[in-house]
Symmetry: C2
Subunit: 190 residues, 2 copies
DNA sequence: TTTTAAAGTGAATATATATTCACTTATCTT
DNA sequence: AAGATAAGTGAATATATATTCACTTTAAAA
């Protein structure tokens, strides 16, 4: 028999992301999403039990995807700084290319949609980032401050940078990206 | 005859902030707000034309207040770094003490509630911050990078730090605050 | 090709939420 | 104290939104 189409889920997700980035979580209805995705409202309920499940699934998917992409090409054998920059660039590129996800995740953080379970699973995916900072600290390259604080500082700054870049319409060229990296590195370096 | 009570507006604002921080903008209803404020739903409409106006007014009030507090005690005659740290501390303290506003502002940024006009007026209040960074650059103390970028970096990092602090339940003691300042300063300094 | 079951539909329904309004209460003025 | 006006109320109404379901379409299996 016919099978649920993965591409359709992607399409639903894309539509939801686009709308949330434009109108915020509070401004998006199931009707909006289905219209944007070019499907009937009822079809959303074929794929998801309801709005809550849709939002939670999208949240989880974004998180998994972004973490997975972040460590692409990272080789722990290589020296710390280039490895760190590699990951930093992966994160930045991902956020720039998936601006809508940045906004969506931010909006979700304080919404009643995201369940404790979803939140917890997302948090668990942070482990590799903590490990990275700890390595930098062991090698005396990174400040001996609470790793949670360092990560939050870095990722918070990056998020806001991505937003500013998006709104100002500036395209980050290589030199601009490098000077942005220097801001981060100078902050974190021991 | 009787006058609309300023304290009641404050009470409404406080209730809205508290609820938005807990449930997100999408999860808060006019009924919730009135219940939390201990008044009838109809009373909200004595003070505000509707939900939109309430949210916009709150947004503007938060923004004005935070900017005003930021420059408290700043004396441009004094050297840059202590003046900068003074402002930085003002901002951090404000955000820590008004955590709910941090969340509210973040949630609002991509909501359909905030009008272009409100947004513009908020943006105009940023001028003193830009001027501050420009001064630092003139004195060769701050990196010669786009001031918007520098500010975004700093404020984004601070926001996220405040959130992390809040969730982890850690109280920032003096030494912890200082090391956090060092992260910011090291990032920005020339 | 026919059969079968899942995928897809969208108008109808249920639910949640904003807003109104006829009325009550509080406060100021004379 | 009486009259006048604004503030406050909350049930009733209007509106927006999520969700359902009887039905149609599609595609795999027989």
């Amino acid at each position: 028999m016919k099978l649920k189409d993965d591409r359709k889920v992607t399409q639903i997700f894309q539509s939801a992301l686009k709308l949330v980035a434009k109108k915020g979580l509070s401004g998006v209805t199931m009707g909006d999403i289905s219209r944007e995705a070019g499907i009937a409202t009822g079809t959303l309920y074929v794929y998801f039990k309801g709005k809550d499940e849709l939002i939670n699934a999208l949240f989880a998917a974004c998180r998994e995807n972004s973490v997975q992409v972040s460590f692409k090409g990272y080789n722990p054998q290589l020296p710390f700084k280039p490895g760190f920059k590699n990951i930093w660039l992966n994160i930045l590129r991902y956020k720039l290319q998936h601006f809508e996800e940045v906004i969506f995740m931010e909006q979700c953080y304080h919404s009643p949609f995201i369940t404790a379970d979803t939140r917890e699973k997302a948090q668990q995916l942070s482990a590799p980032f903590y490990a990275l900072m700890e390595r930098g600290q062991k090698e005396q390259l990174i400040k001996q401050t609470d790793t949670g604080l360092l990560l939050t500082f870095m990722l918070g700054a990056m998020n806001e940078l991505v937003k500013q870049t998006h709104y100002s319409g500036i395209t980050l060229n290589r030199s601009r990206i490098n000077s942005t990296f220097d801001l981060c590195w100078d902050a974190l370096k021991a």
